[in-house]
Symmetry: C2
Subunit: 68 residues, 2 copies
DNA sequence: TCTGTATGTAAAGTAGACTTTACGTAAAGC
DNA sequence: GCTTTACGTAAAGTCTACTTTACATACAGA
């Protein structure tokens, strides 16, 4: 699962910590998602999309290789 | 997190087992999601949406009360 | 040089998504 | 009555999303 979290965050000029606060998650979660260490839950994905005022599909791109 | 999984499944005239096979998950997962026992992972949500040829937002509706 | 801001790694713990197995029930058809 | 199909519950196990804490690095500015 690829994502454009970092691009969107930069676009809004937010630090990882600011974004974490807005999303009510830890900064570690932001780092891990940006670095592709894991894919967020559906709920967090919804929150991320609405924070950037876009659709989930605009931020997250599922891979062929994507496991369930 | 509300969802319209059952509605879409009925619309396509699929049993829970058929849908589970298409999505490559267990029938238990389908039951649990339909019954609202848990919300699927982002990857599974993507698969569900593409199976019904709609967007994630068409199937899943985040609640106000939604925890992360 | 010291301080603050931003980013990153590592490790251990908790909660929940998902699996497998097994069993229960109700309806439909022979 | 028996079998098949569809739906549901329960319980125990695995994996991973997410947390907290602590430490490291690099850069900017006074």
């Amino acid at each position: 699962m690829e994502n454009k979290l970092k691009e969107f965050r930069k676009k809004f000029h937010w630090s990882q910590e600011e974004l974490a606060n807005k999303l009510e998650v830890s900064r570690q979660s932001i780092i891990s998602i940006e670095k592709g260490k894991y894919t967020p839950s559906l709920l967090l994905a919804f929150k991320i999309a609405s924070t950037f005022d876009v659709k989930i599909e605009d931020v997250f791109i599922p891979n062929n290789e994507g496991r369930i």
